[in-house]
């Protein structure tokens, strides 16, 4: 079982559309994991059935047992996050502000503050229309994405892949360069970078590739909307060559990506021309490269 992670550094490059296309091409050989939990959109293309769902807890939240509170105010004094307010001599915790540091609970002389796990969202195991399985999640309002949720989604997907003897876990990675993307990359066999030739595209590609390098994971790259700016495209190609990143394909700027999405389809189902060929060819190359690893 090999883990293939698709990442992009910046949003809007077509990462999720391509991941879903690979999922369709891979069919029954791949278990899909949507780790882009901040903007989890892949379900719109793969139509999961939300067969199994479970709550997801992350971090801690302080809670004051009112009956035992002696109203000494020590908790409020030590809290650096303005999370404790007092109204009518009643101390309460504002969950939006509480960082879960646990300081208040440690110093409460009446031992009436407890830390409880914070409900952060839900995660799901679904059957998808490719005949395979997808693991995905949804964060609650204002919940912080964390490496933990990404790790949870990945772990479940890996477990299923091992049990059902699937060859690949295909991961739609998290955006940015923080903890969630680190967790997306941790343990991966291969990375596919998706970028676009714009001033911010190359900038963000370089930042996220620094992380890939740290993990020493082999990488390949797809340049989407490649014909929109030939100068930037050449700069990206040069960067790929310098870093030894396999250049999989240049995809043209094409509204069929959006048209496919509007139909709830992936590009390889909607398009019957060049785009389909380029994406199919990229997936074949990825499989070959991953099998070499």
């Amino acid at each position: 079982m090999k883990e293939i992670v698709i990442i992009s550094g910046k949003g809007g490059t077509g990462k999720t559309s391509l991941t879903a296309a690979f999922a369709v091409l891979g069919g029954n050989d791949v278990v899909v994991a949507d780790c882009d939990v901040d903007a989890a959109d892949m379900h719109l293309l793969l139509q999961p059935d939300f067969n199994y769902s479970d709550d997801f807890y992350s971090g801690e939240l302080a809670y004051i047992e009112q009956a035992d509170c002696i109203r000494c105010g020590k908790c409020k004094d030590v809290c650096r996050f303005d999370a404790i307010s007092v109204k009518l001599n009643r101390f309460t915790i504002d969950p939006m502000n509480c960082e879960g540091c646990g300081y208040c609970a440690r110093i409460c002389p009446a031992h009436c503050i407890r830390n409880k796990s914070r409900l952060a969202g839900k995660w799901y195991i679904s059957n998808i229309r490719t005949g395979s399985i997808m693991v995905h999640a949804r964060l609650g309002i204002g919940a912080d994405n964390s490496g933990k949720l990404v790790a949870k989604v990945k772990d479940e997907a890996k477990g299923i892949a091992i049990e059902e003897q699937k060859e690949f876990v295909l991961i739609d990675g998290s955006p940015g360069i923080g903890c969630p993307v680190v967790s997306s990359l941790s343990g991966a066999s291969f990375v596919v970078l998706v970028t676009e030739p714009s001033v911010s595209g190359l900038h963000d590609l370089k930042r996220v590739y620094e992380l890939v390098k740290k993990f020493k994971i082999r990488a390949a790259c797809i340049i989407n909307k490649a014909d929109i700016n030939l100068v930037k495209c050449a700069e990206i190609e040069q960067f790929l060559a310098e870093e030894g990143i396999v250049h999989l394909a240049d995809l043209p700027y094409d509204e069929n990506f959006t048209k496919a999405m509007t139909q709830g389809q992936t590009i390889v189902e909607y398009d019957d021309g060049l785009l389909k060929d380029l994406v199919t060819d990229s997936w074949e190359k990825v499989k070959r490269l991953v099998r070499e690893e």
Partner: protein
């Protein structure tokens, strides 16, 4: 334009890549043609607005947070500091205490619970704030250092800096980080109005509806700008009508816009329709948004 209270407006989107930064920079430059405007890039993990604006840097300062610093001479290696840290920012390796400032949330528990004062809190650099100026346009950005995980304190500080420096600016625009998690909420919690940028696609609609839920949790008024209008379908428009959310402007889908964006150019200067759209957004804000929120 009618003069009124200063307006603080956040420009946000549920997902990345919808044109949030494009709208922020174009709107700011457009307003600056007539009056003073402050643009604050609060996407502190990946501040990109600066790529589209020229200006002279007039101020630069480091951002800090308070983290504990181990004083070996005082330490009795009792291990309390490690046990009270919920974020695993302190470990104890035999006789040494190791602090990981990037993981520290500055709760002060280790420092204040240390019985021998061996972990005083000291400032630690977390990134850099820069201010640029070009005519009427004041541009402020903060960038987090790589490895720093907490965007929220930097966002709070950058906002405070901008408002403190330009308390009377008619327009202060905040380019918000994408998504609907804590950093985005920190941006919107004390603005007067939120402009949500979306695309008329299933992804755009899904992420828009999440962003709207978040904004409603804070009871903030909002309006939608539809970017790449003409592709996709009408579901975003129907959604806005059903939810009573005003559509401030529609910017047509065009390859030319994508090309201008890719080379870091301001779009409204070349494409008149975009200028019309910016004017519509501005008019709406001036006539319908109540300013003066603190």
């Amino acid at each position: 334009m009618t003069s009124q209270k200063p307006l603080k407006i956040a420009i946000a989107s549920g997902k990345g890549g919808t044109g949030k930064t494009t709208l922020s920079t174009n709107l700011a430059a457009f307003i600056a043609e007539q009056q003073e405007v402050v643009l604050v890039d609060l996407d502190v993990e990946e501040p990109n607005s600066g790529l589209f604006l020229n200006g002279e840097m007039i101020h630069e300062e480091f951002n800090y947070k308070m983290t504990p610093q181990w004083d070996e001479s005082k330490c009795t290696v009792c291990g309390i500091c490690r046990k009270v840290c919920n974020f695993h920012a302190i470990i104890q390796l035999g006789p040494s205490i190791l602090v990981f400032p990037e993981l520290c949330h500055s709760c002060y528990a280790c420092s204040e619970l240390c019985t021998v004062d061996a972990l005083p809190m000291v400032p630690k650099k977390t990134g850099i704030l820069k201010e640029f100026s070009s005519g009427n346009l004041h541009f402020i950005e903060s960038r987090l250092d790589i490895g720093e995980e907490q965007a929220v304190p930097t966002i709070a500080k950058t906002k405070k800096y901008a408002i403190g420096k330009f308390p009377d600016a008619q327009f202060t625009l905040f380019d918000s980080p994408p998504g609907t998690s804590c950093p985005m909420m920190e941006v919107i919690k004390d603005v007067d109005f939120v402009i949500l940028v979306t695309e008329p696609t299933p992804f755009g609609l899904h992420d828009l509806s999440l962003a709207v839920e978040t904004i409603r949790a804070y009871k903030k008024p909002c309006g939608v700008v539809i970017n790449r209008y003409g592709i996709g379908n009408n579901d975003v428009i129907e959604y806005c009508q059903n939810e009573n959310i005003p559509i401030l402007a529609k910017i047509a889908n065009s390859r030319e816009i994508a090309e201008l964006y890719s080379s870091g150019k301001l779009i409204y200067r070349t494409i008149p329709e975009v200028k019309v759209a910016l004017n519509e957004i501005l008019d709406y804000c001036l006539n319908n948004v109540e300013g003066g929120n603190k």
